[in-house]
Symmetry: D2
Subunit: 90 residues, 4 copies
């Protein structure tokens, strides 16, 4: 993923926040917190993961499709995105 | 979450595997791995998170609804599950 | 699905609205409407379908689990819901 | 959606099959079929709708991004797809 430095830093910050949410779920399970609370934490982490995935897809589309330097590069970037969309929607 | 010890250990093992997958995504972003690879890792982590959520819902239904000791407990457990299903499907 | 008459009418009204949305997508495809518009219609129909699914699950939990008349009926209703949750989250 | 005639016919065939599945759910609700069966039909219709959405996104990417005739058209097609991905993943 040869995205811009700025995009990269943003994505890494997001994945670290997501890791923090997962660690929160781990602690809640260990502390035997109420189920309803754990389910809310899971829903929130799932939203964070979907947002991260949308952002990686968007960055990929910008860098490897819209700003591709050759037609071949653009085609390959497009096929990778199609593969990701298909996997995601299965 | 006052589930059985065995269920609890299983859930904690699952959440730790999920954390390992998120750390793998963090490393892949830092190493600027190809986008397609990162999107595959995200899809796989998303599957793991959905599976974990389904298992928490299932355990909750078993412990706090099917095996509830009083009607009031059962009703409350049921309402919590309904809340979780609604949040998940929004 | 032996739910209450009122629940049944509500669910049938919802599924008919959903059918109307699908017919709108069919017309939009035939009229070669812009892609972006079709994708918005699809997102909206998906939301309607998720809401309908959540309501069927909720009605099922109320009628066949919380208000079950025997323990055997409750267990069976619970297993059906677990199956539905697992399928949905796969 | 000015996609190729062949793509258009394929998408219309898919949306009609989906409409048939929704009509099946309507009939099942009217006939008071078992909940478990209705939930299976809903899961199957949801899969069909996700597959249709992935195909519309894929066609859009091919026609309006990869094969765009101008940079402006490509940029616009890309932004529409980004909007759709964001809406879908919310």
């Amino acid at each position: 993923m040869s995205h811009t430095i700025r995009d990269k830093q943003k994505l890494i910050a997001r994945v670290r926040r997501l890791k923090g949410q997962i660690e929160g779920i781990e602690r809640a399970l260990e502390a035997e917190k109420p189920c309803g609370e754990i389910l809310r934490q899971l829903a929130s982490a799932r939203g964070a993961m979907s947002g991260l995935t949308a952002e990686v897809m968007e960055d990929h589309l910008r860098e490897h499709v819209l700003q591709a330097e050759t037609d071949a590069e653009r085609r390959q970037g497009g096929e990778e995105l199609i593969g990701a969309i298909r996997t995601y929607m299965k």
